[in-house]
Symmetry: C2
Subunit: 380 residues, 2 copies
Amino acid sequence: MVSDSELKYWIGLSGIPGIGRVRISQLKEFFGSLEDAWKAPEGKLKQAGLDSRTVDALVALRPRICLDAEMEKLERYKIKALICEDSSYPSRLKQIYDYPPVLYVRGSLPGEDVPCLAIVGTRRPTIYGRQVTEEIVTDLARAGVVIVSGLARGIDSVAHRAALEAGGKTVAVFASGLDIVYPGENAKLAQAIMEQGALVSEFPLGTKPKPENFPLRNRIMSGLSLGVLVVEAGERSGALITAHQALEQNREVFAIPGSILSPASQGTNRLIQEGAKLVRNYVDILQELNLNIVAEQAQLEETSSTEKAKAGSAAESAILKHLSSEPIHIDEICRSTGLPMPGVSSALAMLELKGMVKQVGKMNFVLARRGQAYSESGKS
Amino acid sequence: MVSDSELKYWIGLSGIPGIGRVRISQLKEFFGSLEDAWKAPEGKLKQAGLDSRTVDALVALRPRICLDAEMEKLERYKIKALICEDSSYPSRLKQIYDYPPVLYVRGSLPGEDVPCLAIVGTRRPTIYGRQVTEEIVTDLARAGVVIVSGLARGIDSVAHRAALEAGGKTVAVFASGLDIVYPGENAKLAQAIMEQGALVSEFPLGTKPKPENFPLRNRIMSGLSLGVLVVEAGERSGALITAHQALEQNREVFAIPGSILSPASQGTNRLIQEGAKLVRNYVDILQELNLNIVAEQAQLEETSSTEKAKAGSAAESAILKHLSSEPIHIDEICRSTGLPMPGVSSALAMLELKGMVKQVGKMNFVLARRGQAYSESGKS
């Protein structure tokens, strides 16, 4: 565990352009402590192996940075600074090549075992993009998946909002310091995200959202996640950069297909051509990430016994016993229940009306996870 | 070459349920000639290795079939019967496991070297499905690809019509005898296809379009083609059966992605999940089938020198020289022409307005193949 007195030098050094986690290790080894490194004369810094450009930056900036004031500001904003050497630093993020030495967090990050999915897309989504984002995020959030995004206009905002509305957790990764919300119109959204999840950044307080920060921010989004879902993206969308970064990070890349006549689906369709997994619904994502267990658990919780009791006919109860989160075809239901097709068909229709069963694709059925039982567990 | 006198026994025997090309070979070897097989007593037929059900069918049907009348009828309808042992039988079709012994053809089949693509899809397409079929078929037909389909309502009809209107060739494979057009509303379309391509069937004259004939018909469609493109298909569409048959036949399977909220795209999106190639435009298909040469040739013919001369500014001519059927990004055009982005951008816009350049995807450009030059070569 990094001590508070050491922490401030992590913060100071990591804020100097050119100094990342490799350089910090190097300095620590050479000087014995980061405090000594922070205060070292120019010549010593060069001796430690820093290039002259980085030395110049450090020498120029350090007199202007008051580390104690920085620490106070973090405390005032209730921002935790997680150091990559600490156990509180997200271990999934440490799998990527260039994880940041310090991660600033406002709110609370999900536990290590909680699956996170990054959702990215165009800032100018179509009605289709919005609708699909809302539906899939709602389903994923209810299945216990944390939605990571970038607080940008468009898909990002829709994703964060849908996660919040579904009672799920969501994480927004900033391309600026956590004291600067960008775009400003999302200040209220950022507040809600902080209360129900976390705001995250690798940039020191006061950092403006410069264009070059966005690709860096995106690598954190995918780095925190098991995979990245691209909902809508034009041919040159930044979301495609995120997708390629995610592939390099060995993360799954998912994409929603769309009309070949829609410019907003050109990028996603191309991603699929290049090997991204085509996603038709949230189950596709859970399965690909081997999160069936999450889905099953969510359903077990939600399809409570009281809900099962709502089933009317014997046929309906018999069918319910054979349903799970795995889609089952109606023919298979007939076989396994031994009931005739017309009976199964009308019982399924009744169960769908009651909201207990959901048809996924034509004639394939799963247990629905949105009933009274859900909203109860949502409150708890 | 099968003689006319032998031909009629091929036609007679292949029309008996249970007798395919393997049985015909067997009978020929046993009896020495198919005439002897056709006329053989029951006991001999069993000795030749036919099962009793097939023997019963042959013995029951042959007195009711007048082979000379059949031959006359074929002549009257101007139908050629191609025997699988003849050189006129399509060699691509012979690559499939269960090619039919006799193929009935009205009109003229494309030459052996001409690329064919089967296009299938729902009988109830959306506006999107119709539009995409029209666009892609027009492009493919103009690039010299023959469109094979099944004359059904919906995607099939749209595909045939678009091919005809583009001045291309098209082949309709029947699930009935060639004397029975199904659906009847497509009689005029069938006539036009015959004149500009061919009607094809493995079923003897008089065969009705029974449900069990459709999957058989579909294997001929894919068998004649290098690949199958599924445009729109619901979750349980017959087009999916065709796609799976095509895979078994080692043909490429292509699918057009669509909205995950559109039932008519559920089947195509699933096909892509299962490994079908996602298609964004006709170039994707030509490339996958290694038909770049076809596309290039088509363009060379069509973008004639007179068309090039229509180009106004020096920038436009310079850009035209760097364009081909391969999409080139605008950045690349700037690099290769040495012209500044604003100049290239406005020249491309002008060339697009003139119909000489086409934007495929955002900021990627190809030579357009639809100008005066095309309609000229279309007439020749």
